[in-house]
Subunit: 211 residues, 2 copies
């Protein structure tokens, strides 16, 4: 019934428009959802972290590309059996509705970022989100410095934020030069004062972005 799929970083899990005959959830690694125009412009529309659900019960075709951003393991169910299970177990449909509403809220929060935030605010927002989700996974409680690795390349960040990779790089450098973040190598980040980062993100002081 349930089985596992592994992908290497960079591999495509499903192409937009392909038949997708399974649903699943991320066990480890990071996957991204993205849409591409004919001329190659791409926009990432979602980031899947461990425990996130993938798939559309009741939909034949995948609406966007799903790509493994890092090495990825997913836990999958074939779609048909899953759907009949859903029919029989009302609780599952309700849980799925919950999760979909959360995704919808996240997508709409991201619309505000894409439509109205400056490059600096976009970068600060992204780093804050990654830091918070990372910190949650690490179960760090206090408000000491946060330490984590960026799971995305500069290109992936630019696809997520609707920017170019050069702008991403410049803004990250700017935040580093101002001491808002510290960088070791290209990926390893320390945030000495999370509140200070948040102030750059354009979000309300407390974390509406993540609940």
């Amino acid at each position: 019934m349930k089985y596992y799929r592994s992908y290497e970083a960079g591999q495509t899990v499903v192409w937009s428009g392909d038949r997708m005959d399974f649903v699943g959830s991320v066990v480890s690694g990071i996957a991204s959802l993205s849409q591409t125009m004919e001329d190659g412009r791409t926009q990432m529309v979602g980031l899947l972290l461990p425990s996130d659900f993938v798939g559309r019960p009741g939909r034949e075709l995948a609406p966007y590309d799903v790509t493994a951003t890092t090495d990825l393991v997913m836990c999958c169910f074939r779609k048909k059996p899953f759907e009949s299970m859903m029919m029989e177990t009302p609780h599952i449909a309700q849980r799925l509705l919950e999760m979909t509403l959360d995704e919808l809220d996240a997508a709409r929060e991201w619309m505000l970022l894409l439509g109205r935030k400056t490059a600096r605010e976009k970068i600060a927002s992204l780093i804050a989100i990654i830091a918070r989700r990372g910190a949650t996974l690490q179960l760090k409680g206090g408000d000491g410095p946060l330490v984590f690795d960026l799971p995305l390349t500069r290109v992936a960040m630019s696809d997520y934020l609707g920017l170019t990779l050069e702008t991403v790089s410049r803004q990250i450098s700017a935040l580093r030069n101002e001491g808002i973040i510290q960088l070791e190598g290209k990926r390893h980040v320390t945030i000495p004062d999370f509140q200070r980062l948040l102030n750059e993100s354009g979000d309300d002081a407390d974390g509406g972005m993540l609940n």
Copy 2:
């Protein structure tokens, strides 16, 4: 059980963060969902046309502002009874999941627009969407000229597209000057060749944007 609410154009239906004790659907008129930053920057995150559903079963607080863009009539249910009905009738939860997945797809399509399209493509996309939904309601089948009224002010369009109202105005003028659209007054639009408009929108030739 079921009751009606009316609003005048410009009135707010619910404020983001307010308790929202009803769900409902649009009977006539247009409502918009929007998010606002502390400094006043606004992004519209959804457009509600007649038959569209409003509300989050299982959520106490409204996640965004809901505003009547035109005079508006909604058909409402108090949330508690609706939720218990949902518990008892699995079909409803499934239908709601369907609708939420559609909204999610629309939101993500809009993310591509906000993050990667040019001002001209944004305007063309918006007009195409309004034209198509209008045309569907008018049940016009053929491919003759489409005629309809823009239900949004320039400001509302700019809030939806992540632009300024001046840019919206200029791009609409440009499309008019090139004969891609015809304007009578400020709102009444004729589209002599829908395909020609679509070519400016950056979307695939056939209508992925609307299904």
